[in-house]
């Protein structure tokens, strides 16, 4: 009996069961295939991530001690002479990034809220401009800031670096924040207005608190990026061997110190780069954990 004839003699139910059985085998096969592909993808992601982190930790952890954190660098004269610590770079990083963040937070909030509330063509153009900034090479900001500061004043100052970092932090944080406040359901906004709230109160009491987790994530991402940037600050902050604690004076940041040390002829200075890299990772991690704790607290406080 031919297959066609066999099928002819089957009841509709038999045909459905048979088809289901056959396609079921195929689905199982596909399922296994997808699982294998995803496992490989996971490994492809995990191996480099693990490689980067483990290398930094393994190579850097010897360097992390009290002297490294609190002493100033000593220019080495021989392979065994002491190189001191990186207190200058820690101070510089906190100064340059700190000022950038302090200015970026209000700026980002203002721009985001203004763009959210304004629905005209100009606002759309500005928004697209900001999105373009997100993808711009960081060194262009460094050059631009250098051209309008150092080239004019003939001095290096830490806060010039903060200005350059603003071009990194503000666009990333703004794009994230606009997305965050746009994700707040319209029905919550209407509920607020329906209770007699002014639009400004709806923004302050409903939209911003509801979007807070995503807004913070955006800030955190942008600050993490700024912490590691070398190019924008390289031309404008100069370099120091002692912390200045003064934004009007030159500074060294961890990335610029790494940049300076890595080409050194002394192995001790190259080694210190790993310590500084680990320090950067720890600082980023610290802010990450801090923002999460803050979030959990604010959630608890709000119920």
């Amino acid at each position: 009996m031919t297959v066609a004839a066999a099928i002819d003699q089957m009841t509709p139910r038999e045909i459905i069961r048979r088809t289901s059985q056959k396609s079921g085998q195929r689905r199982q096969l596909l399922s296994n295939l997808y699982f294998a592909v995803l496992t490989i993808a996971l490994l492809v992601i995990f191996i480099p991530l693990y490689g980067v982190l483990s290398t930094i930790v393994v190579r850097g952890y010897h360097s992390l001690n009290w002297t490294f954190l609190t002493a100033n660098p000593i220019p080495p004269t021989s392979a065994t002479s002491p190189i001191g610590g990186v207190a200058n770079a820690i101070d510089g990083t906190l100064e340059v990034t700190g000022i950038a963040v302090l200015l970026a937070v209000p700026l980002t909030i203002l721009i985001s809220v203004a763009l959210f509330e304004t629905r005209n063509r100009l606002a759309r153009i500005v928004e697209q401009g900001i999105e373009i900034f997100v993808g711009m090479p960081a060194i262009t900001f460094g050059l631009f800031i250098a051209a309008i500061t150092v080239s004019v004043t003939h001095k290096f100052e830490a806060w010039y670096g903060s200005m350059a970092l603003l071009f990194i932090v503000v666009p990333v944080a703004t794009v994230n924040m606009i997305a965050a406040i746009r994700s707040v359901p319209q029905t919550l906004i209407e509920a607020g207005l329906g209770l007699g709230a002014r639009p400004s109160r709806v923004m302050m009491r409903i939209i911003l608190p509801t979007a807070l987790p995503r807004i913070l994530t955006g800030f955190f991402l942008s600050v993490s990026r700024a912490l590691g940037e070398t190019a924008p600050v390289l031309f404008v902050i100069g370099g120091v061997l002692v912390p200045s604690f003064n934004p009007r004076l030159p500074a060294t940041t961890l990335p610029t110190q790494i940049y300076a040390y890595f080409g050194s002829q002394f192995e001790s200075q190259v080694q210190a780069c790993w310590g500084m890299a680990l320090l950067l990772v720890i600082i980023v991690l610290f802010f990450n954990v801090l923002s999460r704790i803050f979030l959990a607290r604010s959630k608890k406080a709000n119920g």
Binding site: T187, G194, R198, G303
Partner: protein, 273 residues
């Protein structure tokens, strides 16, 4: 209505202050396209008025005109007159924020503020208008949560997130939130559309207690609900040009038992919609 707590002696009931609303030749258009046309009827004080009709007949559009929610949509145009206690709601002397505390709104899906606790949700409207007195806030929260039949089940967990409540509880919290600013009219836009039968019955029961203290306008797809809860009923239908029209308005018992218009008879009998 004063915000000073000393003037209140009875904290457990919201004071009765239901107002009459009057819709006169009201039309709403979006971007020049008519959505609902020439509607005229009276919303009697301290009664429940329902709006029924198939999808697209303009019930919700009309309801949202009553607290000027269409102000949010630049392309929307409301014409005709809507009055509360004889005053046109579009009158320049009326501030939008005041109007919306007088005419509250409950939405189709429960929408408590997720960033706030149960307590903060209940007093959100008071906070929005600037009330700071802690005692007054606490009393208002209890008063409105009691009025929304929610107090007993949430009094021990007022600081929990509003999202921890069930759907029906969330909707009652939204009603409490509206009651806290002591509105004179409560607009309900299919308030039970997303709720199970038990939660629906609780909300329906609640409308019957609430109409003792305020005026209710309720939009519903559920005709049984309209017949159970409302005193007056407006039946709307989409016209040939897709704009909603008022077919018939009257006492609910009359609309459901002896309507004038054959289209009302057909709709009530379930012939369409």
């Amino acid at each position: 209505m004063s915000l000073s707590s000393t003037e209140h002696t009875e904290y457990t009931t919201v004071s009765p202050n239901g107002q009459r609303m009057r819709l006169d030749d009201v039309s709403v258009a979006f971007a020049g396209r008519m959505a609902v046309r020439n509607v005229t009827f009276d919303v009697e004080p301290l009664k429940v008025t329902s709006m029924i009709g198939p999808s697209g007949s303009g019930k919700t559009t009309l309801l949202r005109a009553m607290n000027r929610m269409h102000d949010l949509t630049p392309s929307a145009k409301v014409s005709g007159s809507i009055t509360i206690d004889g005053v046109d709601i579009f009158d320049k002397s009326i501030r939008l924020t005041d109007l919306r505390t007088r005419i509250g709104m409950v939405f189709q899906r429960p929408n408590p503020f997720p960033s706030m606790s149960i307590f903060e949700n209940a007093v959100a409207g008071l906070r929005f208008i600037g009330v700071k007195d802690k005692k007054f806030l606490a009393e208002s929260a209890e008063r409105s949560l009691r009025a929304a039949a929610l107090w007993d089940s949430v009094k021990d967990r007022l600081q929990n997130a509003a999202g921890t409540l069930s759907g029906g509880e969330q909707q009652r919290l939204c009603i409490a939130r509206s009651l806290a600013v002591e509105p004179e009219v409560l607009l309900m836009d299919e308030p039970t559309a997303s709720l199970d039968p038990i939660a629906t019955a609780q909300i329906e029961e609640l409308t019957q207690t609430l109409k003792q203290i305020l005026t209710i306008v309720i939009v519903t797809h559920n005709m049984q609900q309209a017949s159970r809860v409302s005193d007056n009923c407006a039946f709307l239908l989409m016209g040939d040009d897709m704009a909603g029209e008022l077919i018939e308005f009257g006492e609910t018992t009359k609309i459901f038992t002896n309507p004038n218009d054959p289209r009302t008879i057909d709709y009530i009998a379930g012939k369409f919609g």
